[in-house]
Symmetry: C2
Subunit: 413 residues, 2 copies
């Protein structure tokens, strides 16, 4: 990889050759992939990019830590739509608002970007098997992307994992190990198994390439905006890997001169689980929190990518905002009603945060904002149903329809 | 619309000016939109098409029945991925196999193509409200596409519609009427309400523009195959509108000289509900059937687009194949395991049909096939759960993991 210099520990600064199965520093710190931007600048221009017909995350190859000979992964990951939403902007009192619907990825979440990267690196490593522990989007995206590439997956889930998610994994042919115990127990068994069999490791905060996959979301946002930088980009934050990737992509583009300034990040967490935002707000180190939110994908009390995430928020002079579950479900309906975008609870938490910041007068008519929706609402139908109430239920009879409309106070034109 | 000549009844041949709110013929027949292919040929070439950056269904404007001034609808509909699947082809004994994953549309089904067209035509008609009856996907796609365009929707679903689909509708802000009865009962109530209130009608087989939206799936398939015609295109069939649209797109391309022959269609229905295939197989008129299949989107006992669908299958010298629910769920796992594509039961019925035809020796090593997956499996997680069986369930203990692997005959490398 001529475009990559090395992996560098974000804690102690030690560097490592960027081998495909790179994990963490001996000090325990997470590694960051460091690029040779001079090399990249000579090879990637806005014009060469605009001419490419590859509309996936792999159109940004020069900025990705893969060998030049590594083939794109099979599923169409990335290049999700960025919708300008003037009606919602007006409703919230913003100058401009765009929604990046990353629930439009193959397994319906932004995590496909990280899992596709894991599959590409596993192939470089000559691995036939990839493993991870997760109950949610990381697992399903890994299972799907690996299946398409002909790689086997071993996925460790805590026994409380919802059956629907397990069904998705099993449909993709993963070997699913449901561990009778806590998430920590699950993680430990996955670690022991990965150590024993040498499987390729897709555990977040262990594998430094994952956030490099995720950063393609901001590369796309900026290209889709024709390199016009918005004032803010809002995203939900759980483990921290996603916001770290988002920021990395922006810094890459700044480093190679594609954008001339950096937006500020908006880190949105749930009130019931906001260890990273709390650290920013108090100026103290982060401490574990309970996981009291229905937004399961960001219910992470012990974030494993805390260092990278906190740096990203601070470096960008970012805003933090914590929203209640009710505010999350309101945002889900708002995006559905106004934009035709159906996000899962964690997926719409960024938008909930934007709305709250608008209502507080912190964001307003001078501001342009991109809000990233990180996962599709079909992943968690139960919560959407709870938020929406029941439909009108009647026999096939016009009188009953008229009655029902009247009972609900609907005046039909 | 200079590219459109008129709507023509498929039964009696009577023609109608192609106004935006065009419905059916006075004789009760469905209308087909007839184009001026000479006009289109002068304006659309493979080169002009290849140069377009619009990667949605609207890239085929010259072949679509919309005014030149009509804006594309807001959501990114169409240009779903077409995956070549050499491993699955080898497994089934086919020369070549591609999977068109139309579950990657904004509301996760092919029906987005028809609903986007309905929204475009409703705007041309100056309508503020659109209504339809649907087993699910037509409804959710209409609700989503209309919400994004700022139009209201009234949607009639049978009470058996999966919860995921209803949750989508409510999140998109539709007024949902869940009808206690069959699809037929649901349709009748929607018809009465549409007549009463004059809403824009998005019912299949009433609105002749819908299959014109759906035809974009075959326009895309052929462009993605660089105009190399496969031997067969397989798709699941319920109401009949989709296969009719698929065929229309192919005939359009043939008429303007983009392809030099036509593929044969494979019409896949469920054994428990196959009125159209039965008509083809017996050579008799179609008769209603019960709706005995878990593939809810094609559980249509009284298909409303029978005329167009039967013509399409016959004109293409098509094959029919009826599959059991067990074969449908096997196909779901097969696509998941081998391709990383998660389809809903009706969505994978085409692939189930291809598999069955391969096993029967009707398709084989000389054949190239495109199989269209019409909807995402996340729409119906309950059935996927039933099909998948249970994961390995153990405490966090390496010995127990080894035991479990050994019991299942898994040899781990």
């Amino acid at each position: 990889m001529k475009n990559v210099r090395y992996g560098k520990c974000v804690k102690c600064g030690r560097t490592y050759a960027a081998v495909p199965d790179l994990t963490t520093c001996t000090c325990g710190g997470i590694l960051d992939i460091v690029y040779d931007y001079d090399y990249i600048k000579e090879r990637l221009t806005k014009q060469t990019l605009a001419a490419r017909s590859e509309h996936t995350m792999w159109r940004y190859r020069e900025l990705l830590p893969v060998e030049e000979t590594t083939a794109p992964t099979p599923l169409r990951v990335g290049w999700s739509p960025l919708y300008e939403e003037p009606r919602l902007a007006a409703q919230l009192g913003l100058k401009q608002l765009w929604v990046k619907d990353d629930g439009q990825n193959p397994t319906a979440s932004l995590k496909d970007r990280a899992s596709a990267m894991a599959v590409a690196k596993a192939r470089e490593a000559g691995a036939q098997v990839i493993a991870c522990s997760s109950t949610g989007n990381a697992a399903s995206s890994l299972a799907g992307n690996a299946a398409a590439a002909g790689l086997a997956t071993y996925i460790f889930v805590p026994s409380r994992a919802p059956k629907g998610k397990v069904a998705q994994l099993m449909t993709f042919g993963a070997t699913v190990i449901s561990v009778q115990g806590s998430y920590e127990d699950t993680f430990e068994l996955s670690k022991a198994a990965i150590d024993r069999w040498g499987w390729y490791n897709r555990n977040a905060a262990i594998n430094p390439y994952l956030s490099e996959g995720k950063k393609t979301v901001s590369l796309e946002i900026m290209e889709q905006l024709h390199w016009q930088v918005p004032d803010y980009i809002a995203i939900s934050v759980g483990d921290g890997c996603t916001i770290a990737g988002l920021w990395k992509g922006l810094k890459d583009l700044y480093a190679i001169g594609f954008i001339d300034r950096l937006p500020r990040l908006i880190s949105a967490q749930a009130v019931g689980c906001c260890p990273l935002n709390r650290a920013i707000e108090t100026g103290e180190p982060w401490h574990p929190m309970e996981e009291n939110t229905l937004a399961d994908s960001i219910a992470v009390g012990v974030p494993r990518n805390a260092d990278k995430a906190l740096s990203a928020i601070r470096e960008s002079h970012g805003l933090t905002v914590n929203v209640s579950d009710a505010e999350i479900m309101d945002a889900q309906k708002l995006l559905g009603h106004t934009c035709g975008v159906f996000g899962e609870p964690a997926g719409v938490t960024g938008t909930a945060g934007v709305k709250k910041l608008c209502e507080a007068g912190i964001l307003g008519s001078g501001d342009s904002v991109v809000s990233v929706v990180t996962g599709n609402g079909l992943k968690d139908v139960a919560n959407a149903i709870k938020a929406c109430g029941d439909p009108i239920s009647i026999p096939s009879d016009m009188d009953r329809l008229l009655e029902a409309f009247s009972e609900r106070g609907l005046s039909i034109k």
